[in-house]
Amino acid sequence: MVGQAALRPGTGAGLQSRQFSHQDSFSLPQFPGFDDLYCKFCFVYGQDWVPTAGLEEGISQITSKSDVAPTTLVWNFPIDITFKSTNPSGCECWGWWDPARRPGTRLTHTSFAGPQIVVSVYGPDFFGNDVVRGYGAVHVPFTPGRHTRTIAMFVPESTSRLQKFTSWFTGRRPEFTDPKVVAQGEGREVTRVRSQGFVTISFNVVTKDMKKLGYDVSPSDMQNPSLVPVTEGIHKY
């Protein structure tokens, strides 16, 4: 169950007119064959984003499989965080739309993107060593309301068979140097990964003053995102 923490409506500090609050909770990781998992999370966001409240990084409790029928792992771990931004580009709903990007220029750098939650799951292996069970990332939805996202989790593969064996034996499996790697595209081409399972996250999102920035993210508008509010917003300043 999602905790009862009241969703904070943004206090709208000064001119930084974008306030954005959301609460996540993990639940239902599907990791066949694994047990006693815990997960770490962190948020990756671009330079135009600032967390105003809540924890950016955290670690959950260890969860074990239940004996009763749906043997899923449940964390139900609530996270509460508020972001604000002056320049909400590269968000989930607009993909990589970035006003600074003109035809012919490079794709937007990850560091300008909207907030993503990066989840990495750990658990003991056969020998009791703590090993990573999966990395995954998802953009935080912008539309107010409740959203459920299922993230496919993956781990980097060993470069050779021998290393695979030794890493299994020693419990030191290949890991990403930084879990935030999975939130960006750059450099990923050198890695080989394997799918490991899924984690379900539910988001409860509240936004404030999005219209001041020229974005209309009320759910009904999501069906046909019109450009009118965008341009209006651009011309308003």
Binding site: D98, A100, P103, F176, E186, T191, Y237
Partner: protein, 1526 residues
């Protein structure tokens, strides 16, 4: 049908009685047989009919399987059993059935079951049938014989003669055979028989003649042949000289001359395989051929054939004919309706009438309008014309409607008559009710108007005619008169001639003009009404609107009469296909599709023709096939070659009509083609229709991948359109392509005088209006990405104007100033202009050489050049930063290896488990390293641990004078032989007692934060204090590369705290002590942040940079008066401070980035041999595997980014001659002087300029030109100088404090090794404890590299004897001899002479600048300059330079005291190499002399610049503060 007889025969046979058993029983056999025969015939006929009927259902195979066949038989039986006659019944029950065929069949079936293959099955069936056939004929034959016997049966015995059979004995037979037959023997023929006469056989081969190999024939056959030949006449002629049969040599070659062909595909003989070859462009001369020069590749024409509709076909039934007619009419109706000409013309008529009325009225209103009046007759004429047209159109409409209805009625009656329906067509006539009264009124009004007009017209006509009549009458009358008068004359003159004249006149005789009739209004009305009746709807009559639908049901075939069924079947059998002919060559054809019952054929195929030339002709051929066999060409259709604007995707479907003159007559309902037929019962009103139809197709030019239409360039063949056409058809005039060109179109419209009011032209006129008005100008340029525009949310101008977008764009481009800009504001107004100021300034100044900052044009140029090199390197680095290796992203255990010190489990780490938990000698544990990503301001602290200092200068009591031994003449020998103990402090106790305390403290300043220690006492203080300074990364960016480029330095300043009595002449002196604290700067140590960052900790004893002269202070110099290469003395060389500096938490240095950069740079081109590079890589790998911490350097990167082998940098070079001339004899001093010269070249660390990413090595001449470089360049130059001076010198690659990885120079002087620090010019003995060089990794000479293989790498503990291969691993050895690499250094260095005048000028400028600065720094105080002191100081400075800053301070002090008298002087000279002004200012500022705030303070400042060759400048700044002693 072919199987018919064989099927029928057994059936008939079954009914046959077996002849022998029945022939003699009861009946009169003859009649029975006759009847049986008839029966047989009948049965056969029947069977045939049934088979025929069965054949109706199409049989896919001629031969059925046996099983099916059997069911056929059963059916047949059943069929026969329906009608059994008495005889049959009798036969059936009494006769024995011959079971033979059955059994054969059974056998056959069995066999069939065994064989599964169909072919075998068919074979069986055939044999089976054959057998049956045989049976049949047998029985027939027997029947015939029986008949014969039967006929002459009575007398048979009379003709017969009984005789025993002849028999020949076997032996007789053989005997007879022997007479006739010859059996050649198989035995060999003796050679004598074969040779003529007694000739010996002659073997040609043995004689050396060539005889080919004979073809192989087996010996026995050969013998048989020889025997046979010998039997013949002249048989011996067949034998050659060798007694063998004459034979040509074997024609078959042993080896095949044809190369073997290997088949690619299974099952196809290799010879028959087809090979694909690309079509070759034909280069025949052709008027349409594109020139070879501008050949643009194959072009493509897309031909889309969607279908075929027959408007007439031989298989059309009458109903179809009518339906086609109806459809055509309906189409016409629709077209007319769309145009609605009637309505238009009616409206026009009304408009014209109104206009006429108006103009007449207007005229009445008083203002005479000549124009209007004039136009009235024109209007009237127009009205007349329009009315006529309208009437014609109306009549056409009416007629059309009538015809439609008529045809529909015909169809209906035909359907009724033939009692079936063939077409789904239905015509609905929708009645549109009209208001009767209104309608009548309108009708009447119309008629009245028309009548009036007609009347008017008639009146006009009448008048005209009347006029004509009158004139004519006049003429006639006059003529008549003349005639009469003539007659009279003639009658009188010649009577005879009268006749003839009369005759002639008769021809000329004018008919008397008939007066025109006045038009009768009633008559006209009658006319009009009649016409209206004809062509117009009667008033009140509902308007009829026909609607044609295809909703009717077609009568199913079962319910149709036979003729119709046949027709439908015929249609089913027919199919059609279309061939596409390009330039009269067939290029493709459609699939064959059956003609549907509504005579439509759908193809829906698109053919892509790849062509090279402009097509000459495009043609479609329509073929019809009937059943399996006949294919007839129905028609040929030429397709116009599309215009170049017609592209695939936009091309419309076009229907092209065709017709055929083929004559087809059919024997069923189909009406045929070219055959007359009639719908009437009596055969009248015959019509003949030809096969015709429409092909719907579209031809267009394909569009290539890039959206380029694949059209061959149109060869300008002006096809000469008739000029008359040009006025009518725009397209004919300017071509379709012209339609897109508005100007052309407009021009054409003007020329053709189009009626702008014609509704037909409305669209065109509007287009032209738009085009010519200029409001919406059609651009004459082509826009790429025109679709992008609609996604641009602001215009480009706005985009460029907006500061916010500019900021975002710059940040996205990773421009240094904005790379880490956070929180770009939402609104334009929140962005201040200042943000861009720095950036714009930088952009502007990039190419402008700022002479103000540099004072020296040469240095400005160099700085500019360095800036550019720096930028290019940084750009490369930024590119490299986006390249990731796996190790950058994934942490993975290395492959474990046995025995090594690697991190594997099987290595030494296993033993670690057994280690004691608390070892007696604990090791430093590695701190956890922190990635720089999640750091923010305040997280990082710089920890500076100040431990102790040695030899801090001590205060001198004022006015005290110490006798100084003269040190002016030191010899080389002196330096090495001198004993340090001569003047130790112990030896002069009084000096020690006199010593004034120094109270030093240390102040550490970093990034404007200042921390200080407590004050200690004495020249060797011990603080042991830890200072914590916060660290802020530039722009808050804590990423690795940002930290690497931090330029801040940690300043560790040593001060002396001096207490003065505040008010010396205070009256209240006794009651309290007020002291003033003064701090006097003693020296400083500077450590760049990057050094700390890269080395994680800086730990050691550093030399404090103490100025050569400290006024008021002296060193305890007695400890080491003598300088030299000796080790022990050097303790006294300067002041030292022991420090430990680190960063908390430990940051991961960006080492990997540097490595990667180097890797990347190595990929740039190189001029080294590949072999050498490989050897270098191998050498490096070997070295680092043994000593991972020691850096092995074999190749470096020069300024051009090329990889160069390191020994190429080392080459003996000449130092400036002036330096050598200065001290002619002393090699030691000369060496020092050279080292000083090298050290005077400004130091510019690569790690700062290139953000610690790479190390570029410049050659010595480049270095001297640039006058800037880091340790490597200094070291290389110094090493080269030493080599040039004939010393033994090497480059040391090692690690020193505080620089970190660096390069030093090693020389061998009199069996002692001396280590030189090239960037300071200092030198140390090998065993010097304060030598900053900590580790020695490798030595580099001019022809080899030696890697340190000893256990230790501290210079004190190692042996520098490179000849020992166990201690030093050399690169070039016996295995790889030195290949004699050419040095990249120049042959000789050429020096510019020192420019003294420029130095003096510069000196003045610097002095002025510094003085201004000091005054600027003291804004609240008056800054007084003591001129005396200044001039004295100015005199000191050249001396300092001469002595290289050594030990002359006492002279100064004395001199100053003498000059100034009662002043307390504190000050010092600063010595710096000159690069630019800013560092000088910084240095002066950091000394803090100006901070003194005593009210009566005076200052003195002197600058001296000594110029060395090649513009190397040594700058001395002497700064002092003076306080007058009261």
């Amino acid at each position: 049908m072919a199987a018919g007889p064989s099927d029928a025969a057994p059936q008939a046979l079954r009914d046959l009685p077996p002849v022998p058993s029945t022939s003699r029983t009861g009946f009169a056999e003859f009649s029975v047989r006759e009847r049986m025969r008839e029966k047989l015939k009948a049965a056969r006929a029947k069977a045939e009919i049934t088979l025929l009927q069965e054949d109706r259902s199409p049989r896919p195979r001629r031969l059925k399987s046996i099983r099916e066949r059997k069911t056929d038989f059963r059916l047949d039986k059943a069929f026969q059993n329906d009608f059994p006659s008495a005889e049959e019944a009798y036969n059936f029950f009494t006769f024995n059935f011959d079971s033979e065929p059955e059994s054969i069949k059974a056998g056959a079936r069995k066999r069939n079951e065994l064989n599964e293959e169909e072919e075998a099955e068919e074979e069986c069936v055939e044999t089976h049938e054959d057998e049956q056939e045989e049976d049949e004929t047998d029985e027939d034959a027997r029947l015939v014989k029986d008949d014969d016997l039967f006929i002459i049966g009575q007398t048979a015995e009379d003709f017969l003669v009984m005789k025993p059979a002849d028999c020949e004995s076997y032996s007789e037979q053989l005997k007879k055979e022997k007479e006739f037959l010859f059996t050649p023997s198989m035995l060999a023929v003796p050679p004598s028989e074969k040779m003529p006469g007694n000739m010996q056989p002659r073997y040609l081969e043995d004689e050396g003649l060539y005889t080919g190999e004979r073809p192989f024939v087996s010996q026995s056959n050969q013998n048989i042949l020889e025997n046979r030949i010998l039997r013949q006449e002249q048989g011996k002629e067949w034998f050659g000289d060798d007694g063998k049969i004459l034979a040509l040599p074997n024609p078959i070659k042993q080896s095949s001359t044809r190369p073997p062909i290997f088949s690619l595909e299974e099952g196809i003989a290799p010879e028959l395989e087809t090979v694909y070859r690309k079509a070759i462009k034909m280069t025949a001369a052709n008027q349409y051929l594109v020139g070879p020069g501008d050949f643009q590749g194959p072009f493509q024409l897309d031909i889309d054939i969607s279908g075929l509709i027959f408007t007439h076909h031989p298989c059309f039934s009458r109903e179809h004919v009518l339906a086609a007619k109806l459809a055509q009419l309906y189409d016409q109706y629709l077209a007319r309706k769309q145009k609605n000409l009637t309505k238009l013309l009616t409206d026009k008529l009304h408009a014209l009438r109104n206009a006429v009325e108006c103009s007449i009225d207007g005229g009445d209103a008083g203002v005479p309008r000549p124009v209007a009046q004039q136009s009235i007759p024109e209007y009237k004429i127009e009205i007349r014309q329009t009315r006529r047209l309208r009437d014609a159109e109306q009549e056409k409409d009416r007629m059309l409607l009538k015809t439609i209805i008529k045809v529909w009625k015909q169809i209906k009656s035909l359907r009724d008559f033939q009692k079936f329906t063939n077409t789904p067509m239905k015509l609905y006539l929708r009645k549109e009710e009209v208001d009767q009264r209104l309608d009548e009124k309108a009708y009447e009004a119309e008629i009245q108007a028309e009548i009036n007009e007609l009347l008017e017209e008639c009146m006009e006509e009448y008048e005209k005619k009347m006029k004509e009549y009158k004139t004519e009458l006049q003429e006639w009358k006059s003529w008549k008169k003349t005639q009469k008068s003539k007659k009279k004359k003639k009658k009188k003159d010649i009577h005879e001639e009268e006749e003839s004249v009369e005759d002639c006149d008769l021809g000329e005789e004018r008919v008397k003009p008939i007066p025109p009739k006045m038009a009768n209004s009633l008559e006209i009305e009658q006319q009009v009404r009649e016409k209206a009746d004809n062509c117009r709807r009667k008033p009140g009559e509902p308007a009829l609107i026909p609607e044609l639908v295809l909703s009717g049901s077609v009568t199913p075939t079962e319910l149709c009469p036979r003729a119709e069924v046949l027709r439908r079947e015929d249609v089913k059998k027919r199919s059609a296909f279309i061939k596409v002919l390009f330039n009269a060559k067939e290029v493709s054809r459609t699939v064959t599709r059956p003609i549907s019952s509504d005579f439509r054929v759908h193809f829906g195929q698109i053919f892509n023709l790849q062509i090279f030339n402009w097509p000459e002709s495009l043609k479609l051929q329509i073929y019809e096939t009937m059943g399996m066999s006949s294919t007839t060409l129905l028609a040929e259709v030429f397709i116009p070659v599309p215009e170049t604007t017609v592209l695939t995707g936009s091309a419309p479907m076009e229907e092209i009509e065709f017709s055929s003159n083929q004559r087809v007559m059919l024997d069923h309902e189909g009406v045929g083609s070219g055959v007359s037929f009639s719908f009437e019962a009596d055969g009248s009103n015959k019509m003949t229709l030809m096969t015709s139809g429409k092909v719907s197709n579209s031809v267009s030019w394909a569009v290539g991948e890039k959206g380029i239409p694949l059209i061959p360039p149109v060869s300008q063949q002006n096809t000469g359109i008739p000029s008359a056409l040009k006025n009518i058809d725009a397209i004919a005039s300017i071509g379709t392509s012209g339609l897109t060109d508005m100007k052309k179109l407009a021009k054409w419209a003007v020329e053709a005088k189009l009626d702008p009011n014609d509704p037909n032209n409305a669209a065109l006129m509007q287009l032209i209006m738009v085009a010519t008005s200029g409001e919406a100008r059609v651009p004459d340029f082509f826009r790429l990405e025109q679709l992008q525009q609609e996604f641009n949310f602001v215009s480009d101008e706005e985009f460029n104007r907006s500061k916010r977008f500019r900021l975002l764009q710059l940040r996205n481009g990773e421009v240094a100033e904005f790379r880490n800009y956070k929180q770009v504001p939402l609104h334009e107004r929140e962005i201040s202009e200042k943000i861009f100021e720095d950036y714009e300034k930088r952009l502007q100044e990039r190419d402008v050489i700022d002479s103000k900052n540099y004072l020296d044009a040469h240095r400005a140029v160099v700085a500019n050049y360095l800036q550019k090199v720096r930028e290019s390197v940084i750009n490369r680095f930024l590119i490299a930063k986006h390249n990731f290796l796996l190790s950058d992203l994934v942490n993975e255990e290395e492959i474990p290896s046995l025995g090594s010190e690697g991190p594997g489990i099987l290595g030494l780490s296993l033993f670690k488990l057994a280690e004691p938990k608390r070892p007696l000698k604990p090791r430093r544990k590695e701190r956890k390293k922190v990635t720089a990503q999640n750091l923010s301001d305040g997280d990082i602290k710089l920890l500076v641990n100040i431990i102790r200092a040695y030899d801090i200068p001590v205060r001198k009591p004022v006015m005290s004078k110490l006798p100084q031994p003269s040190k002016s003449s030191r010899s080389f020998n002196d330096m090495f032989a001198a004993s340090p103990s001569a003047q130790s402090p112990m030896d002069s106790p009084d000096w020690a007692l006199n010593q004034v305390l120094v109270r030093p403290f240390v102040e550490v300043s970093f990034q404007r934060t200042v921390c200080r220690t407590t004050t200690a006492e004495g020249p060797n203080p011990n603080w042991n204090e830890e200072l914590e300074l916060p660290f802020r990364a530039p722009n808050g960016d804590y990423s690795t590369h940002s930290l690497q480029s931090v330029k801040d330095e940690v300043f560790i300043n040593v001060f002396d705290e001096v207490l003065h009595d505040a008010v010396e002449d205070d009256p209240e002196r006794g009651s309290g002590i007020r002291t003033r604290v003064e701090r006097h700067w003693l020296g400083c140590v500077k450590i760049p942040f990057t050094t700390i960052y890269f080395q994680a900790r800086v730990d050691g004893t550093f030399k404090v940079d103490v100025p050569p002269v400290l006024l008021g202070y002296s060193k305890e110099k007695n400890l080491g008066i003598e300088r030299g290469y000796d080790s022990v003395q050097n303790l006294s060389e300067g002041s030292y401070i022991t420090l430990f500096i680190t960063i908390e938490p430990q940051l991961i240095p960006g080492e990997s980035v540097r490595e990667k950069m180097n890797e990347m740079l190595k990929k740039f081109d190189t001029q080294e041999e590949e072999k050498l590079l490989q050897a270098a890589a191998k050498y490096e790998a070997e070295c680092t595997s043994k000593f991972p911490s020691r850096k092995c350097l074999t190749t470096v990167i020069d300024l051009n980014g090329k990889t160069v082998f390191i020994t190429r940098y080392i080459k003996p070079l000449n130092p400036p001659q002036e330096l050598l001339d200065a001290i002619p004899n002393s090699s030691q001093t000369a060496a020092e002087l050279v080292a000083r010269y090298v050290a005077l070249i400004p130091f510019l660390p690569d790690s700062v300029s290139f953000a610690g990413i790479c190390d570029l090595w410049s050659t010595s001449d480049q270095f001297l030109y640039l006058l800037a470089g880091d340790e490597e360049e200094h070291a290389v130059l110094l090493c080269n100088y030493f080599l040039g001076m004939g010393k033994k010198a090497w480059l040391i690659i090692g690690n020193a404090i505080p620089e970190g990885p660096t390069a030093y120079v090693l020389t061998l002087e009199q069996s002692q090794y001396v280590i030189w620090n090239p960037s300071t010019g200092c030198f140390y003995g090998q065993y010097d404890t304060f030598c900053p060089l900590q580790n020695v990794y490798c030595l580099i000479g001019c022809d080899n590299i030696w890697f340190n293989m000893q256990e230790y790498d501290s210079p004190i503990r190692i042996n520098f004897d490179i000849s020992k291969p166990k201690l030093w691993k050399s690169f070039f050895s016996r295995r790889l001899p030195y290949p004699g690499l050419r040095s990249i250094q120049p042959e000789e260095l050429v020096y510019q002479h020192a420019d003294k005048a420029a130095a003096v000028e510069l000196q003045g400028r610097i002095e002025k600048i510094l003085k201004e600065k000091i005054m600027e720094w003291r804004p609240r105080h008056l800054t007084r300059w003591n001129r005396y002191c200044t001039s004295t100081l100015r005199n000191f400075l050249p001396l300092l330079e001469q002595n290289q800053g050594k030990d002359i301070e006492d002279d100064h002090q004395a001199e100053l005291q003498k000059q100034l008298g009662d002043y307390r002087v504190s000050g010092f000279p600063i010595h710096m190499p000159f690069s630019e002004v800013r560092p000088l200012i910084e240095a002066v500022h950091s000394m803090g002399v100006h901070t003194i705030d005593v009210s009566n303070v005076e200052f003195a400042l002197a600058v001296y610049i000594h110029a060395y060759p090649q513009n190397v400048l040594s700058v001395w700044i002497y700064i002092a503060s003076l306080v007058r002693n009261r």
